[in-house]
Structure formats: structure tokens, C-alpha cells
Amino acid sequence: MDDLLAERDLVLQAFWLTIQLAVLSGLCSLAFGTVLAAMRVGPISVLRGAATTYVTLVRNTPLLLMFIFVFVAAPNIGWFVGTPFLVKGVIAVSVYTSAFVCEAVRSGVNAVPLGQAEAARAIGLTFGQTMTSVVLPQAFRAVVPPMASVLIAMTKNTSIAAVFGLAELTFRMRYFANNSADDTTIFLTFALLYVVLVELISAGAIGLERRWRAAR
């Protein structure tokens, strides 16, 4: 405990880095995953095929592999050379998570009655407008719980960044654990910090569900 308090700046820095990884990856994954979902339900078969291939490929690949690609393989072929570690971490996590976001959004789109999109098209909205104004807002409302699960898994997945030299929570935990005998306290402290993050996501999800209930 004393070690942790003495070097609490390191702990807080690690917490902050994990928050950055989670928030940035979350935003990127939501945006990209939603675009993928729109491609998968859209009228253009090339885009449908591309998005489907992406999801199949990424969902069936371990996240660790994604990190190895972004941090080790890609620089060897001249990609991401000199890119900050945080950005690389966000890329690896987002590439992976957006496939899951896509599937969650798609299940939401399937839950929106067909008549909604037909009514939108009937008043003259284009496919893009139909998606952004009518279908996707309702799809999101329908998938808040599974989307929260995806984001919670993602938050915990950011820990893999530790292996690649990002001094986030898991990285720091190992650092303290290696230099101290009080492993249990250290473990509990760091676990608690993850719990705080995950609970924030859960609370956000519950809040959104409550707010959107009136409109369904």
C-alpha cells in the first residue's frame, strides 16, 4: 500500500492512459463499426461484401494478433512508423472492436421494423438519410445493453497494450507487483480501477435506456 501511495502519480498516470485508450478506442469503434453496419445493410454489393469480409476476418482473429500487427509487423512494411504508442494502441483496439460494434448495430437495425425505412424512403429520404435519421437512431436504442457489453469488453481489452510498452493500468500493476511483496493489495487496487471504469459504462447505459424508453 505504501508503495502505491508513494508513487501514486504513476498509478494515476496509468489510470489516465487507460481512460484515454478506452475513450478514444470507444469513439473510433462506435463510428467505424456503425459505418460498417450501414455498409452491411446497404444496397451496394461491393461495400456489403467488403464489410462482411472485414467482420469475419477481424472477429475470428485474436486481439493480441492485431496488436502484433500494428506494433511489430506494420512498421516493418513502413506503416505507422513513428506513430505515438497511444495512437497505435487505439488503432489496434478499434480495428478489433469495430467488428463487434458492427454486429451489435446490425442486430439493432434488424430489430427496426421494415415499415420505418419504407416510410422514410416514401417521403423522399435517400438511403443515407434514411439510415442516419430513422433507422440507426432506433437501432442504437434497441442495442444499448449488448453495446455496453462490447464497450466493457473493449475497456478490459485495452490491457493488452501493456505488453507493447504502454504504461497503462495493467502495465503499472505488473511493475508494482514485481517490486513489492504486497501483491494482493496491488491487485485489488488495480482491479478496482477497472471496476470504476466499467461501472461508468454500465451507468451510462442504464441512463441512456431510461432516457430513451419514453420514445419507444
Partner: protein, 247 residues
């Protein structure tokens, strides 16, 4: 005949797989005309309606609106659809938007009307159909009859050249049917061009200029409402009327 027609269908055929759902349908609807389409379940009435704003594609023949053939998918088609109002049996109001937002969405997104102007016009239309007091509510909080009247206002907000109604009252409780029909009769009297799939004979007699009777994908009889209801020419129409009159 097709020259002055607002909606013109010319030798239209459509299949769903092996099922021939529209068989050589020809129809010319003049500006201001109200056409009622009637016929047994599965005869292709909905498909006919949906083909007119290309929610269904056709396999042969042609459909034109105001002299212009229906465009392929894309911007031009969206533009055409904005000129054709459609009212569905199941209302299909946007569930996540308020009544007012349902009516302003089209004008704001498609016609690029400013919010203030769109809302003002929307309130006028909602008043006209008698649901202006519900403007801030969500569709789920309204009765079926109110929802359908909002759906009519939503379609009217685009200033359509023609309105299509696909069994607009058949999902409604009896006491709500009249309030929707009244709005439709008013619309007809104001000169709106309308194609209405309905079994409401009262509406057909009051408002329709012409009745089309469909059976198995073909238009088998076409006459004035009085003629059709009192003296149907085909056995199939007589048979059908016998069935709906019994209930």
C-alpha cells in the same frame, strides 16, 4: 389518354418468383381524380400501390408520374418519391420522433425548408387533421386513428402531387375509422389526386370518381362507384361484393 395523366401505368407486369402478381395493368389517373382500388386479399392491390413509388420494382411495362418515367435507384428516385405521398396500413410513424418531428423531417431533409417554416406548416397540417394538440407526443402515445392522421399530415407536408393510401383504415378500431375517412374525404374535396386501396364502400361512394376491381393481379373491372356497387359486371366482382356485404 396518357398525355394528361398524372399517374400512368402502361402494360405493367410483376412477378414474385413464380407468382404473377401484376398482370398487364394499365391505368391512367388524371389530376384531381380519386381512384379506389378494391379486391380480394392477395390480388395485388398493395403491390400496385408500392410499384407507383417504386417501393417495388416491376418486371415489364412502364410507370410514369407527371409525364416522367420512374427513375432508377438514387437521387432522382428519392426526388420522385417526395412527390408521391404514401399512407400505410400500419401507419409507420417514426417511433423515435415526436408527432411534430415526424411531419417536419421530410421538408427539412428533402426540401431543405428551415425549421421554423417547417414547424409552422406542420402545425397547420396537424390542425387540419385534428391532432395539433398531440404535437409533442411520441407515436406510441397516440391512438391508431390519431397516428394515421399524423401519417397523412406527414405525407401532405411534402406537397405531393398524388397520395397513395394502402388500406389506411383496416388496422383501426371501428370508432376510429370515421375520423380518418373524414380527413381523406376532405382531401379529395380539395382536389388531391388519390389512389386508395380500401374496402370502405362509404368512402368510395362519397369520394371516388372511379373504382378498380382487382383479382389475381389483373384489373378485371373499372367503373363508377355507383355502377360498381349496384351493378357489378363480372362474376368475380359480384362474388367478392357478396362476401364483404355479408359482414
Amino acid at each position: 389518354m396518357a398525355a394528361d395523366a398524372l399517374v400512368a401505368l402502361d402494360h405493367v407486369d410483376k412477378w414474385f418468383g413464380d407468382l404473377h402478381v401484376l398482370k398487364d395493368v394499365n391505368l391512367a389517373v388524371r389530376r384531381g381524380e380519386v381512384v379506389v382500388v378494391i379486391g380480394p386479399s392477395g390480388s395485388g392491390k398493395s403491390t400496385l400501390c408500392r410499384a407507383i413509388n417504386r417501393l417495388e420494382t416491376i418486371d415489364s411495362g412502364s410507370i410514369s408520374l407527371d409525364g416522367r418515367p420512374l427513375p432508377q435507384e438514387g437521387k432522382a428516385l428519392a426526388e420522385l418519391r417526395s412527390d408521391v405521398g404514401m399512407v400505410f396500413q400500419s401507419f409507420n410513424l417514426f417511433a423515435h420522433k415526436t408527432v411534430l418531428e415526424n411531419v417536419t423531417l421530410g421538408p427539412m431533409k428533402v426540401r431543405r425548408t428551415g425549421r421554423q417554416e417547417a414547424e409552422q406548416r406542420a402545425m397547420e397540417l396537424l390542425r387540419r387533421v385534428g391532432v395539433d394538440s398531440q404535437a409533442g407526443k411520441y407515436p406510441a402515445q397516440l391512438s391508431g386513428g390519431q397516428q394515421q392522421r399524423v401519417a397523412i399530415a406527414r405525407a401532405l407536408a411534402m406537397d405531393p402531387k398524388v397520395m397513395l393510401f394502402d388500406e389506411p383504415t383496416s388496422a383501426l378500431d371501428p370508432e376510429m375509422i370515421k375520423e380518418v375517412l373524414d380527413v381523406m374525404v376532405d382531401l379529395a374535396q380539395r382536389g388531391m389526386t388519390m389512389i386508395v386501396v380500401t374496402h370502405e364502400m362509404g368512402f368510395a361512394r362519397t369520394a371516388a370518381d372511379r373504382v378498380l376491381f382487382m383479382s389475381d393481379g389483373a384489373v378485371v373491372e373499372e367503373s363508377t362507384p355507383d355502377e360498381f356497387f349496384s351493378n357489378p359486371r363480372t362474376d368475380r366482382a359480384r362474388d367478392f361484393l357478396g362476401k364483404i356485404l355479408k359482414h
